[in-house]
Structures are given as C-alpha cells and as structure tokens.
C-alpha cells in the first residue's frame, strides 16, 4: 500500500508540509485566505533539534494500536487507511496514549485529529507530499 514516508536527510525544516496540510483541511481555494492570521493545527508536524528535522504523521500501521484501543470505534481501517470518525470520537485520548509515533493530536474541538492521507480532500497525492520542496516526504509503495 502507498504510504507517506519521510527522509530526514532531505528535510529542510521549512514547515511547509504543515501549512499545506492545514490548507488541505480547509475548503478554501486560496491558501492566503485560508490561513492568514490563524494559528494552524496540522495533522503532520515537524520535529526539530539542532540540524535535524523531519515530519511526523500517521504511519497507517498494519497493526494499528490506536484502532484496537479506541473505546468508541471512532478509529477504523479502510483499505489500509486509518480513518477517524470525528462524530463518534468523544476525545478520551486513549489513542494519544497509545500511538507510539505521537502522530495523533488534539484538535481543540474535543475530537482527536490525524492524517488520513488526504482521502477526504485532495485525492491522489497527499498535500504534504505535494508541498514538500525537497522530496523529503514521499508517497509510495515500500516493502
């Protein structure tokens, strides 16, 4: 299955993936209009330390602890993509407790949020991958 893979060797720490992700989350056509004067809360986030930086988002595990642990059944797997039903989620944060990548985050409106490979929005290539200027985030099949 195609997944988002990250190679920190090429990550510039420009944080554009976060902005493209946040933009993809809105229904706006124009990024400026969508993101001006707001604090974004993207589903992908850059970890930085010294010279090293890399983006972290849901790995869409084959053995998803978050799905197994979800107390409401809001987290499900369909075609390998781990999806969150934000109406079902009551924000108990058990998934945050269990996700070994720290890839699920709070969203401010109670429910949690996570990368869904842009299946709901930009079909095809996830926005973070499209937006990465240096090929540090790719979307491909890997063994």
């Amino acid at each position: 299955m195609k997944r988002v893979y990250v190679n920190e060797k090429w990550c510039l720490g420009c944080h554009l993936c976060e902005y493209y992700c946040a933009f993809a989350g809105t229904n706006e056509k124009d990024m400026a209009r969508a993101l001006r004067d707001i604090k974004i809360n993207p589903k992908i986030s850059i970890e930085e330390n010294g010279g090293v930086s890399f983006a972290v988002s849901c790995r869409h595990c084959e053995e998803p602890l978050c799905v197994k642990s979800c107390i409401t059944g809001a987290l499900t797997v369909s075609d390998g993509v781990i999806k969150i039903d934000r109406n079902q989620c009551i924000g108990c944060y058990t998934c945050i407790l269990i996700c070994p990548y720290g890839a699920i985050s709070t969203s401010g409106d109670g429910a949690v949020q996570k990368c869904e490979l842009c299946v709901k929005t930009a079909a095809g290539t996830p926005a973070c991958v499209k937006g990465c200027p240096n090929g540090a985030i790719v979307f491909e099949e890997r063994g």
Binding site: R3, Y5, V6, N7, E8, E47, E48, N49, V52, F54, V56, R59, H60, C61, E62, E63, P64, L65, K68, S69, I71, T72, G73, N87, Q88, I90, G91, C92, Y93, T94, C95, I96, L97, I98, C99, P100, Y101, G102, I104, S105, T106, R142, G143
Partner: protein, 436 residues
C-alpha cells in the same frame, strides 16, 4: 508496517485451511461469553483466520455491543445510546456470528465442552472464550438497605436507571473517588443540585495519581463546585443520610456506590486457575483446555512491573480478546504487552497515566500541567501526564517495549516526547519504513 506496535510476537496468521476445520471435520464452533471489548476483539481475531467457523456470542445484557466507558458521557449528553455502539449495526452479520443477548450462562460443562444457560439450554463449543468482565463491588454498610435510591455505575442499564433518578433538586453522594466515581460525578454534576464524593483514601484517583497530581485534579473539580470528603469512613446509613466515623452526617437524595469492581470469575471456578482474576497466559489461554479468557475478568502479566495483575482497561481487553480469537482459530499469536494505562479527562482537564510508579522520578510542573516520569534500571516504568498530554504514546511505547533508556536521548525525551530522541537508524525504520 511493523514497528513499536508489533506488540504481537511472531506469526499472527496461521494457514487458514488447517484452522477452519475442527478435529471432527465440521466447522469449528466458537462460543464467546460476553459482548464487550474483549468479546468483539475475539470475533475480529477469529475472523482474521477463520471465515467459516460458527461463532456464538452469549451475553446477559439485552443490547448491541456498546462501549462501557461511554456511560458517563451518556449522562453528560455527549453521546446518545446510538453512538455508544462499539461496532456498527451490521457487525454480527458481517462477521457472521449468532448473538444470544439477554441469555445468562449458568455454568460451563468443560467435560462435555458445553455452555449451560440459565434456562437449561446447552451450547456446545470447540473453543470457548470467557469475557465476562467485572461487576461493581458493593460493600456491606450497615443500613445500606434503608437507602431509597441506590445505584452502581457499571452498565448501560445502571446509567439508564441513574439518569431517570436525576433532577435539579437532587443531592448526590458518591462513594469512591476512583475513575468510575469521578466520571459518574462529571456526568451528573450539571443535572443535579449538588455532588459530594467521598472516599476512604486520602486522595482522589489514588490508583493512578500521586498526591500532587491528585491535588491538582481535585482543585480543578472543586472549581466546578464538586465537593470532596476524603480519608473518611462510613459508619452507617440512616435512610438518606450517611453517618461517618467522626460523627458527621451527610444528607443526600441519591447514592452512587463506586468503591471498586470485582472480576466475574465464577463460571470458571473449579475449571481453571483463578487468582484475583482468571489467570491467563500471553496467548489468552486459561489453564483449562480449549478455554480462553480475556478482559476485565482476567489477571495477566503487567509488562511494566513483571507482576501478574488485573488490568481492567478497554485497550488491553480488546487486544487480549483479539489474541484469544486468533489462537482459538489456530493462529499463533502472543500478546505480552499489557500494562496499566489510563486516559481520562474531567471538564477538559486531561490525564494520561501508564505503568507503575516505582523508581526515580523526573518531574516537570507549571501552568496547570504536570508531568512525572518514573524510571529505574535503565527503563521507564511509568508516567503521569496532567494537562498537556500530546505525544504521550511515545512514553507509553518506551514502557511497553521496555526500551533501554541509554538507547534514546532521555534528557530530550523528558523535556518533550518525540521521535527526535531516538537514533537516526530507528527513525529511518519508523518514518522511512526501511532498515538502513
């Protein structure tokens, strides 16, 4: 995508062909007693391996499978009974299993390999899973029977009953400042005139919080005008008044008993080894042949402490159940990463805890947040996060994986949980999916 989450040792898929047919040659008969997380996990586990076998789910509750922890949210009005459903309406048909709801199990005839129902009916099994969960422990207080409105808070029916009894004029006394008591308190606070929570212990949530943490949460709850009576012992009840050892009298209209739970192990008495709960190994097998157990009724190895104990938590229940299901269907799977862990919140204040609190402690406090990491012998034993809980799973994985702390940047990870603290090779594996 194996990684930290490869919580399941070795191959978890067996050759379907061999597992489909029981020794007899007919499809395998799976019987599951219980209809909650562990039971559902078992169904999904079985179906990973065996599409044909007959699955029968027996529950004494008259409901579609639902998520027990949600009953407090039901009272809170955050969920409806509709979306309390743990799995979709089509679940049983999609997984082609028979649900016998409202059917109480009288006993297990291990010799005949049959489950005997209260009405005398017998359900034969090849593989049996006992996922009977636990029930509220009701202590024997003097005069308790004189209390008009008594409630426990474990099941949907409990919640319904309580909900009916609620109104703005009621004063509620909750015995037990544990997870259940407090979630119940949160659930009803807005719907009654006053809530008092009483506990023998000197602090709230004593099972998962240290004193500082408890105080922090308590003041938060008191801020919501919840009243606490700690370190006090009930002498007796006189109708709607609780009389304490020190003579204080607390009048109430409604009593909720939330002092604790007891695993439902009765069915296996004399059949399998029972400690405080049904003893299972990492394959969710009991000591009795072809009988598995999972969830709140069991006790198993705590990966964080190495001791066998009851860990009545939904995630563990599901994973034990799934593990049981896979093994019942002939797959080979071990689940040995159960640890105590809790994610809970009260009025927007979030608490995540895991593991045990032995060893040295690293503390970070400030603006309503509190972080405590407990470690010894180069391992993280447990942690408490109150307030900011982002990326807590990174800590959890350190505990579940028993990751040697000298293989990560512990100073960094203490400051903020993240993959940055791991080696570049680890990250290549985690984020690149490639070992380099």
């Amino acid at each position: 995508m194996k990684g930290l989450n490869g919580a399941f040792s070795n191959n978890n898929k067996a050759n379907p062909a061999e597992s489909v047919i029981a020794s007899g040659g007919s499809p395998v008969k799976y019987v599951i007693i219980g209809n909650s997380a562990a039971a559902i996990g078992a169904v999904e586990g079985i179906r990973q391996i065996d599409r044909q076998g007959e699955i029968t789910v027996i529950t004494n509750e008259p409901h579609h499978t639902y998520s027990r922890p949600l009953i407090s949210y039901l009272l809170l009005g955050k969920v409806t009974e509709e979306n309390m459903r743990y799995r979709g309406d089509g679940f049983y048909t999609e997984n082609n299993c028979t649900l016998m709801s409202g059917a109480a199990v009288a006993e297990i005839d291990a010799g005949k390999k049959q489950v005997v129902l209260a009405d005398g009916a017998r359900v034969p099994y090849d593989k049996l899973l006992v996922a009977t969960g636990s029930s509220a422990f009701v202590p024997t207080f003097e005069g308790l029977d004189t209390v008009e409105s008594r409630h426990t808070f474990m099941s949907l029916d409990d919640a319904r009953g309580l909900s009916k009894a609620l109104d703005k004029s009621k004063r509620v006394l909750i015995i037990g400042a544990g997870l259940i008591g407090l979630k119940c308190a949160e659930g009803i606070l807005e719907r009654v005139s006053h809530v008092t929570v009483l506990d023998l212990a000197p602090r709230i949530l004593s099972s998962i919080l240290d004193e500082d943490g408890a105080r922090l949460v308590q003041s938060h709850l008191e801020g919501k005008s919840m009243e606490f009576k700690l370190s006090c012992n009930i002498k007796c009840f006189e109708k709607n008044t609780a009389v304490l050892e020190d003579g204080e009298r607390i009048a109430f209209d409604l009593l909720v008993l939330a002092v604790g739970v007891r695993p439902n192990t009765a069915l296996l008495k004399g059949i399998a080894e029972i400690g405080r709960g049904v003893v299972i190994n990492e394959k969710s097998e009991t000591t009795a042949a072809d009988i598995y157990a999972a969830g709140d009724c069991t006790q198993t190895l705590d990966a964080s402490s190495g001791q066998s104990r009851i860990m009545a938590l939904l995630p563990n229940a599901y994973m034990q159940g799934e593990c049981a299901g896979i093994n019942m269907a002939g797959g080979g799977k071990g689940f040995n990463k159960a640890i105590p862990m809790n994610a809970i919140g009260f009025f927007g204040l979030h608490i995540i805890t895991a593991g045990n609190y032995n060893g040295d402690v690293h503390t970070v406090k400030g603006d309503g947040n509190c972080k405590r990491l407990y470690y010894s012998d180069n391992r993280l034993n447990g942690y408490i996060l109150i307030g900011n809980v982002e990326k807590a799973g990174i800590y959890t994985s350190l505990i579940r994986e028993r990751t040697p702390l000298d293989t990560v940047d512990f100073a960094l990870i203490c400051e903020k949980p993240g993959l940055m603290a791991f080696t570049q090779e680890d990250r290549m594996l985690k984020l690149g999916g490639v070992a380099r």
